[in-house]
Amino acid sequence: MDKQSVFIPKLISRKEPFAPGHRACIGCGEALAVRQLCKELGDNVIVVNATGCMEIIASQLPNTSWTVPWMHTLFENTAAVASGASAGLRAMKRKGKGPSQYVKVVGMGGDGATSDIGFGALSGALQRGHDFLYICLDNEAYMNTGIQQSSATPFGASTTTGPAGEKSLGQVSWKKNLPAIVAAHDVPYVATACPSYFHDMLSKVRKAMAVRGPAYIQVLSVCPTGWRCATNQTIRLGRLAVESGMFPLYEVVNGEYTLSLDLPTLRPVREYLKAQGRFRHLPDHEIDYIQTRVDKEYAKLRKLSRVAKAPAAARPAVTHVPESQGEIAAGLPALQETVDGILARYRNDPALLISILQDIQAAYNYLPKESMERVGSGLNIPLSQVYSVATFFKAFSLKPRGRNLIHVCLGTACHVHGAARLRDKIQRALNIEPGGTTPDFRFTLETVNCVGACALGPVVMINGKYHGQMTAQKVDALLKSYT
């Protein structure tokens, strides 16, 4: 998964195609997912929505949250309606009618609408190969009608039609592996996502939108009402679901599996289950069973998958990290060649400016002034444009930085767990301010507003490695381990 968490919030559209004012519960993960998804879907879409929470909460006559063309008809037929809309647009385009631009038809339905009652319609539409994107908003039950069990309800969860009781655990079968079933239709793009990893989710939407044919994304959406958890736990629970392996994030591109986030060790499922009322009744041995099964399923998935290449690994090895001011004054070695090589790799495409700057920074640990001049002339864009991008994102540094780059996360989750104290402690230990570099070029200290690991907070990231649950006491030892 891209470690772009630092800039993505700035790249994301400020437009709200899914307008506020709808009636979703507080902390609704589905509404959050739809809001984010819509930002990436853009304007040239037709959304076909199944009956369910997202339809009911956002479309009450005479109001609507939908600013893109939107249609709801029934509970189980979304993929079929999408088939018809897609075919209609295609036929009309051939005959010179209808919208002149390319329009993507996007079906959206809950887990019930998708994996149960609308399963046949989905399978038919996937197999026929219509050009459409189907997004399943998986909150693991029929929430709109009051938390009834669906085939996406996980083992051990208590619902109103599969309640836990003296003689029942609640759901006693394993969650239907719908993404795998969809992938078995041999469609070009299948992915799982979660709004807790929204940059990952949006990059998957972007890929799905580029497909001409069927694409499918299943979005795990925390439902505080149905999962019986606190309404401020939505993001954290989404992360725990992913990090415990309960809901792994992956893509299946033309049949090839790729784990989006490869976890060498999974967090215990217990942590995830204990945070939710729907699992409260589970005795220890059932939790152990879930742990065993999750481990097994995850191992299976890992075996199937390539691991997503971190973009950093694709970048050139560090060319030269300067270690003193004198060295910089003397001129950096091979600067022109390195920059030209990077430009060539991105085919001198100005649209890829950010990636180009990232690679240069990876090579020198900062953006040398001369490199930016070279980028401007190489891409044939004004230097001011290069500077405006370089200075806009906090992740780029125009000043030389130390061998070890420390990021202290001051995001809300880390902040409430004492991140400010940590920052102060590191400042004192190194005798530098945030943004500063030690005279021996050993450390540079920076603060960021979120590194996308809220469940681990407070987090200190050094050279891209996360150190979670940090305390001021542990700081000295941590710094010592970096030379």
Binding site: D43, N44, V45, I46, V48, E55, I56, S59, Q60, L61, P62, T64, W66, T67, V68, P69, W70, M71, H72, T73, L74, E76, N77, A79, A80, V81, A82, S83, G84, A85, S86, A87, G88, L89, R90, A91, M92, R94, K95, K97, G98, P99, Q101, V103, V105, G120, A121, S123, G124, Q127, R128
Partner: protein, 392 residues
């Protein structure tokens, strides 16, 4: 003057020819006897490049009509066809198509319903769908099917109407007949059926939201406007039939009478059996029996005024239904009774059910029905309705 050509062909294929000539954009259909010849012919026309349409080989009738919703909503001209079980599987979707005012044209090759399984014709399927808000028309012969199909696209897509239209064609008894028919020329079709301009399509250049959620405070108003809408479609339907008569010289009315003048006993039929009934009427008239025939062509919206006008003056109205509303009787008879009730002097309605599951009723059969009907009118019956020709 009409430039039609006279052809002898199967009625199902003629349906396909009209769908081709109006340059339909999308067909989503699922095979079921006796509708199959219609959709197979269309698939062939598309495969041969004679019709530039997307033919969706969909996985069920529920999805077939659902796909039509999507297609009609983006503004594409849309057709489907089904029968019997297929229409029942579409049931839920039927109501959405009309309430969302999507101009879909559907041919129904009327068929009996399971169980027991029966693939032959009767009106059980459409009678179970009569409250779905569609314009519903019954046809009697091949020519009428061709003409009604042509008019159906006009009616559905007229801006004042914007409703789905169901063309009922008796399964086998009509759908599989090879008959001589006049088929219009392409020029005539183009002159009669303008391109579809759905006024509120799903289009990113002008976003609309369709199919919202309506709480009690507004649902009644939504349904009332739907009712007004279908009531207001009646004059437009008559106007389109009028235009059709001007251009093609064949006249269609919501209710037709045949030799009903002065008759004290009238027979009421719908669909292809009417042709046999007409022959029976001729025969009985020749024998001096007092009888006439009325046929309801426009079943929805129900043509109250025309129906009362056609029935007035008679003492007895013998209704033949090809479906049973279980525990009640013939659905057409029930509606006829309720339509006649406000009249000061109204005929007595005698209800027969017959022709179920493809069982034929011959001319002699109709003669028997009339005879027994007159007896019941004079002396009553132990039953609310009788089944013609049943073996007990």
């Amino acid at each position: 003057m009409a430039e039609e050509t006279r052809v002898g062909t199967e009625v199902s294929l003629a349906v396909g020819e009209i769908v081709r000539m109006v340059n339909t954009d999308v067909i989503a259909a699922y095979p079921i006897t006796p509708q199959t010849h219609i959709v197979e012919h269309l698939a062939e026309l598309v495969a041969d490049g004679k019709l530039d349409a997307d033919f969706i080989t969909i996985e069920s009738e529920h999805s077939a009509l659902s796909a039509c919703l999507g297609s009609a909503a983006v503004g594409a001209r849309t057709f489907t066809a089904t029968a019997g079980q297929g229409l029942e599987l579409m049931h839920e979707v039927l109501f959405v198509a009309s309430a969302m005012r999507l101009p879909i044209v559907m041919a129904v090759a009327n068929r009996a319903l399971s169980s027991p399984l029966n693939v032959w014709g009767d009106h059980s399927d459409v009678m179970a769908a009569r409250d779905a808000g569609w314009i519903q028309i019954f046809t009697e012969n091949g020519q009428e099917v061709v003409d009604t199909m042509l008019c159906a696209f006009r009616m559905a897509e007229d801006r004042r109407v914007l409703l789905p239209v169901m063309v009922n064609i008796d399964g086998f008894h009509l759908s599989h007949m090879i008959e001589p028919m006049f088929l219009p020329s392409q020029k005539e079709v183009d002159a009669f059926v303008p391109p579809n301009h759905y006024p509120f399509p799903l289009d990113p250049n002008k976003p609309v939201a369709m199919g919202d959620f309506a709480p009690p405070i507004i649902y009644t108003e939504a349904k009332w406007s739907q009712e007004i809408n279908i009531e207001h479609s009646a004059p437009v339907i008559r106007e389109i039939w009028g235009e059709f008569a001007t251009q093609f010289g064949r006249t269609y009315r919501p209710v037709e009478s045949y030799r009903a003048e002065g008759a004290k006993t009238l027979l009421l039929t719908m669909g292809s059996f009417s042709e046999t009934a007409m022959t029976a009427v001729d025969k009985m008239r020749a024998a001096g029996i007092d009888i006439g025939l009325i046929r309801i062509r426009l079943w929805r919206p129900f043509p109250f005024a025309e129906f009362r006008e056609a029935a007035k003056g008679a003492d007895t109205l013998i209704v033949l239904d090809r479906a049973i509303s279980f525990g009640v009787g013939g659905p057409v008879a029930a509606e006829a009774r309720s339509a006649l009730y406000p009249m000061e002097k109204r005929p007595r309605v005698v209800s027969f059910v017959g022709g179920l599951g493809g069982r034929d009723i011959t001319v002699a059969g109709f003669e028997e029905i009339v005879k027994r009907g007159k007896e019941i009118a004079a002396h009553g019956s132990p039953r609310e309705f009788e089944i013609f020709g049943v073996r007990e």
